[in-house]
Symmetry: C2
Subunit: 588 residues, 2 copies
C-alpha cells in the first residue's frame, strides 16, 4: 500500500515556469516527474509506476507477436554508424563523445545498425527467418529545442523493434503484425490514435506510417480526407502531378510596380493600374519565389529557390522531409550577399535554375502547373512581369511539395476536401527494406544455396512520450485522469479523520481489504492536512477512483468519486470494497 | 514457452578469443550475451531473462525495507558534479560530452549529487525523514581496462540507493536495513558472499563495507581472521601503530656493497662480508624505499617515497585507497631525472622527507616501527648503511599502510593469523554522512525549528555484475548451472525424436502440461539436430532441470537430469509433470 504520509511526492499548487503544455504542467505539479537536466526528467515513484505499466503493456504485445526481447548498450562505437552514413547524417542531433583512449562513441538515437549486425552475427540461413527483436531502452537525441516536458526530451524511453525477413512478403507480414500490435497497445493504453502515411526521414526505407495521438499540442500536423480513408502527415502529403493548364496567354510583359513590397500591395497595385478585364487580380495569380538554404549534415550548403502560388505559404517541414537528411532554412543576409543576381522582393524565374545566369537550383510546387501564367518578379527593383508562362517563358529544375497544406485542399486520393489536425507521434512503423542489410552485409543462404540480402522493418514506440500523451488526452484544469490500465493505483483512499479516530480506523480497514482483493491502493493518511487539500491532491494525481472516508461514515456511508465521470456517489460502507473492486475490475 | 527452434540464440563450441574468465566465456558461448562495444554487452533473450530476474529480486527486497523506486537520467549536467568536486575527482573514469550548445555533460557513474538535490527539492522538514530512494539504472564508467565481460564493463546495470536521515542513529538504522536487505538479496540469488570492511574511495564518507563473492577471478583481495570475525578488503586493512622497538643499536655505519642490485644479492653480500654474530642477515632487515608518483585528478603530481621492510612488496592498490582520489604509480625515468638526489637502488632515508635535501615526502609502513634498525641505501652507488635507526638516525613525514598483506599476517583486531582470498565486489554500503548534503545545501528544519544538515548513506549492487558473479560461482567445464531463482527457465525439455513422431508428441504434451503448472519451459524442438548436440547445448545453457524425452519413452520413461547434482534419473512419463513441478517448486 502506498501511503501519502511516506510516499516520496510533493504536489505543487503553481505551474512550473518552464511548462508549456498541460502534460508537463500536471505531471510536475502532481509529483510524477521532476526536471533534472535540459530535456531530461527524473521519474518520481508515482510516475515510475505509470511508466512501468506502459512498458509492460508494450512488452506483452511485442511478446504476443513473437518478438523477442534483447537489450543493447546505449554507448556505441562510431564505426558502425559510419558504415551506414548516419554518424554524419544525424548531424547535431547525435550526442558524440570520446573515450579516454580517444575513440569516438555516440549515444544511440535508434539501433538499426546494431540489430542488423547482431542478426548477421548469429544467423546465416533462410531457416532462421523470420525473426523480430525488440528492446525497451533509453535513447538519446540532442534536440535543438527540447520542449514540452516528456513530449520532446533528449533522453527518453523507447521500444524499438526490428524485423528480419527473407523477402517482401515476409516483411509485409512482419510489418502488419507490428502495426496490429501497435493498435492493441494503444487501445490497451486507452490512448486515441490515428494511423497516417509518413515520411521515413533519416531512417531510410520505403513505406512508413505514423501513429499519432490527435492532440492539439502535438508537433505533427496531419490531414484526413473528409470522404475517403486517406490520411497522412502533412510532410507526406503528395499532391502529385496536376493537369497542365492549356490556356493561351499574351506575351510576357514587364510593368513598373513601385512600392509593392508585399503580395497584397502588388495585387492592389495591379488592380488599380493594370486591371484585368475578366476578373480582379488575386494573390493566387502571383508566383512567390522563396530563397532557401539547404545544409547537408557534413556542413555543405546549397542555395535553393522554391516557387509557390502567392496565396500559399511555404512549409519548411514538408520540404525538409523531402531533402532529408539535409536541414533547410530561409536564406539569411549573408547568403543573399553571395547572390547579387537575386533581387530581394523581385525575384523571378528568368534568373533561376541550374542553366540560368545565377545557376541557383529552382523547384516548383506542383500547384504551379505546366502552361500556367504568373505575375512574378522581374529581377529588378519595383518591377514585375505579367503573363510569365511556365514552360513557355521559363523552366524549373524540377518539382517539390512545398506549400503548406490547408484545410479544404483536395485529397490526393479522391479529390474531396482534406481536413487538418495536429497530433503527437506515439508510434512509427517503417518498411526499411534492404538499406541497412546491404550496407552492413546481412545476407543469408536461401533455399537454393544463394546469398540473399535480408529485408528489414523498424518499429518504434516512445514509451515515456506515451505517458505524456496519455496525460494530454486525459486531464482537466484541476488535474490528471489516468486510464485505469496505467494508473499508478486503482483507488485513492482519502481519509478525512484524525489519527486513530473511527474514520481513520475504518479507512485503514477498507484500504487493507481492497488490497487483499488485489487492488493497488494509495491512501492519503497524512495527519494535519485538511480535507480540502487532500481532495485537491487526489484530483491532481488523477487516480480514477477516489474513495472518501469521512463524516458520512456516521451514517454508515463512504463516498466514491469517479475522476473521469466527475460523479460522487454515497455507498454503504459495508458495500464499499465490493463496489470499488468491481469498478477496478471493470477496467473503465 | 521458449522454443529453441525459434529462440534468438546460437551456442558456440569455441571460447571467444577475448574471454579471460569462465563467466565471460560461458555467457557468450551459451548465447546469453554478445560483445557490442569495448566494455559494452548486448543481452540476448536468455541473458535478458536472467538479468531481469536478478533485478526483480533486488527490487522486491528494496521495496521490502520501504525504499522507494525512482529513475534519473544518465546524461547529467556538469554543474552539479562540479559543486561536489567529482567532475574533476573522477578523472579519466568519467565519460564527458558536450551538447550542441556547448554545455558540458557527463554520463552518470553514480548519482549521489542528483539524489541529494532531489530530496532538497521536495523535502524540508525532519517530519519528512527518514526516506530511502533507489533506482535500477544503467551506469557509465570509462574504465581504463574493461575486462572479464560483465565483471568490469563501461556500461552496466546498477541498483543504487540513498538514505536520508536527521541524525547518526537514523543513518545507522538505514545502513543496517540496507545491509540486511543485501544479505537477503544475495541469499535469494544463491550467491555466496562475505561482508568486509572497505575503503570509501571517491565516494567519500566514513564507514563502509563491501559484499564480496569469494571467487578467485575477482579483482578484490580480502583478509579474514582465522580466529575472530575480522574481515576486510586488503585496501582497508589497518595495521595501526605497532609497539616501538626498544633495542639499542650500534651507531650507523656505511659499508661498500658492490654488485648488489637486488635485496637478495645485498643480503648475500652482507652475510659474506659483514656477517652478524647473532644470526644471518635477512631481507626483513633491509628497508626498501619505493619511489612513487601521485597524480591528482586535476593533473598535478607529487613524488612520494614509501619505506617498507625489504621482504615485503608494496601494494599500490592499498596506497591508492588511502590517497584517493589521486592515482599512484611507480616513478618513471623522466620522473627520476627531476630528482638527481635519488640514487636508484641506493636510496636511503637520510635524503628523504619534506625537511631533507631532496624535499621529497617520505612515508613509512607501520611495520617500520619506531626504534628499529635497518640496512638501507647510503644514497651513493654501491653503498649501504647498517644500523640506521628509525627516530634516532632518520625521521619520516608520517606513516601509510603500504605492504602487501600476506596470509599469516597478524589480525589487526586479535593478532591471530589472517587468511587471504580473492573476491568480486557485488555490493557496497556506505555511511556517507554529511559530505554531499553539506556541499549541496540539503538541510531540513528539526524539531526546534533549526536548520540541520541531513546525513546520508549510499548503497550499490551491480545487477549485471551479479549475473556474471553467479555464473562464476555456478559452472563447470561444460557449462553454466543457474540457481533456480534466476534461471531463464525452470526446465529444459530435450526432444530427441523426429518431427511429429511419438516422442515429439509426448514431449510437446509434457512441456504444455509443465507450463500449465506455472513453470517456465524451454523446449529444444529443433529438427535435424542430433541428441548429442542437444545435450551439450542443454548443459551449456545451464537450466537446472533437464527433461529428456527420448527412446526410453517406449518403456514408459523419461529422464530427469539435475544440472547441479549431475545426476540422471529415469521417471515414469506419467509422473514426470508432478516430479519436475515438485523440483521447480522446491527452489533447489
Amino acid at each position: 500500500m502506498m501511503r501519502l504520509s511516506q510516499l516520496f511526492v510533493r504536489t505543487l499548487r503553481d505551474d512550473p515556469s518552464d511548462a508549456e503544455v498541460p502534460s508537463h504542467r500536471l505531471l510536475v505539479r502532481a509529483g510524477y516527474i521532476r526536471r533534472a537536466a535540459p530535456g531530461g526528467y527524473t521519474w518520481l515513484p508515482l510516475g515510475w509506476r505509470v511508466l512501468r505499466k506502459v512498458e509492460q503493456i508494450v512488452r506483452e504485445e511485442m511478446d504476443a507477436i513473437g518478438a523477442q526481447e534483447v537489450h543493447f548498450p546505449a554507448l556505441l562505437p562510431r564505426e558502425v554508424y559510419e558504415t551506414t552514413g548516419r554518424w554524419t547524417e544525424y548531424g547535431d542531433n547525435l550526442f558524440r563523445l570520446v573515450d579516454r583512449k580517444g575513440a569516438d562513441f555516440l549515444l544511440g538515437p535508434t539501433h538499426e545498425e546494431m540489430f542488423t549486425l547482431l542478426v548477421k552475427d548469429l544467423y546465416s540461413s533462410y531457416k532462421d527467418l523470420p525473426v523480430s527483436l525488440y528492446q525497451i531502452q533509453t535513447k538519446y537525441r540532442d534536440e535543438a529545442r527540447p520542449r514540452a516536458g516528456l513530449l520532446r526530451g533528449r533522453e527518453f524511453l523507447m521500444k524499438d523493434s526490428y524485423s528480419f525477413d527473407i523477402d517482401e512478403a515476409g516483411l509485409s507480414k512482419s510489418y502488419n503484425d507490428h502495426r496490429d500490435a501497435y493498435e492493441r497497445i494503444f487501445k490497451r493504453l486507452g490512448l486515441p490514435y490515428v494511423i497516417v502515411k509518413a515520411m521515413s526521414g533519416a531512417m531510410g526505407g520505403s513505406m512508413s506510417e505514423e501513429f499519432l495521438a490527435p492532440i492539439e499540442v502535438g508537433e505533427d500536423t496531419f490531414v484526413r480526407c473528409t470522404s475517403c480513408d486517406y490520411s497522412a502527415n502533412t510532410e507526406a502529403v503528395t499532391t502529385g502531378a496536376l493537369a497542365a493548364d492549356t490556356g493561351t496567354y499574351n506575351a510576357a510583359s514587364t510593368v513598373s510596380t513601385p512600392n509593392c513590397p508585399t503580395i497584397a500591395s502588388l495585387v492592389d497595385y495591379l488592380n488599380t493600374h493594370h486591371a484585368r478585364t475578366d476578373r480582379a487580380w488575386a494573390a493566387s495569380d502571383t508566383l512567390k519565389n522563396v530563397v532557401l538554404q539547404l545544409r547537408q549534415p557534413d556542413g555543405t550548403t546549397e542555395t535553393l529557390v522554391v516557387g509557390v502560388p502567392g496565396d500559399r505559404e511555404v512549409d519548411l517541414k514538408r520540404i525538409e522531409a523531402q531533402v532529408s537528411p539535409a536541414d533547410i532554412e530561409t536564406l539569411d543576409d549573408a547568403g543573399f550577399a553571395k547572390h547579387p543576381g537575386l533581387i530581394r522582393g523581385y525575384i523571378g524565374p528568368q534568373v533561376l535554375g541550374k542553366e540560368s545566369t545565377t545557376g541557383v537550383r529552382y523547384l516548383l510546387d506542383p500547384a504551379v502547373v505546366a502552361g500556367s501564367a504568373w505575375v512574378t518578379g522581374a529581377n529588378e527593383k519595383d518591377s514585375h512581369v505579367l503573363n510569365l508562362v511556365n514552360g513557355r517563358d521559363f523552366n524549373a529544375d524540377g518539382t517539390i511539395e512545398a506549400v503548406e497544406v490547408a484545410a479544404g485542399d483536395p485529397c490526393p486520393s479522391c479529390g474531396a476536401a482534406l481536413e487538418i489536425a495536429r497530433g503527437i507521434e506515439i508510434g512509427h512503423v517503417f518498411q526499411l527494406g534492404r538499406k541497412y542489410a546491404d550496407k552492413l552485409g546481412l545476407t543469408v543462404l536461401d533455399q537454393n544455396g544463394k546469398q540473399v540480402v535480408v529485408t528489414m522493418g523498424s518499429y518504434g514506440i516512445g514509451v515515456s512520450r506515451a505517458v505524456a500523451s496519455i496525460a494530454e488526452a486525459f486531464h482537466d484544469d484541476i488535474g490528471l485522469k489516468w486510464p485505469r490500465a496505467i494508473s499508478p493505483a486503482d483507488v485513492h483512499v482519502v481519509v478525512t479523520g484524525k489519527k486513530d479516530d473511527d474514520i481513520s480506523v475504518a479507512a485503514e480497514k477498507l484500504a487493507a481489504e481492497l488490497e487483499a482483493q488485489g487492488l493497488e491502493v494509495l491512501i492519503d493518511d497524512r495527519v494535519g492536512v485538511s480535507p480540502g487539500v487532500k481532495f485537491k491532491d487526489a484530483e491532481l494525481m488523477g487516480i480514477p477512483t477516489i474513495l472518501v472516508v469521512g463524516k458520512s461514515l456516521a451514517e454508515g456511508n463512504v463516498e466514491v468519486r469517479d475522476r473521469h465521470a466527475g460523479t460522487n456517489e454515497a455507498i454503504p460502507v459495508n458495500n464499499a470494497v465490493a463496489h470499488v473492486t468491481a469498478l477496478a475490475r471493470s477496467g473503465s
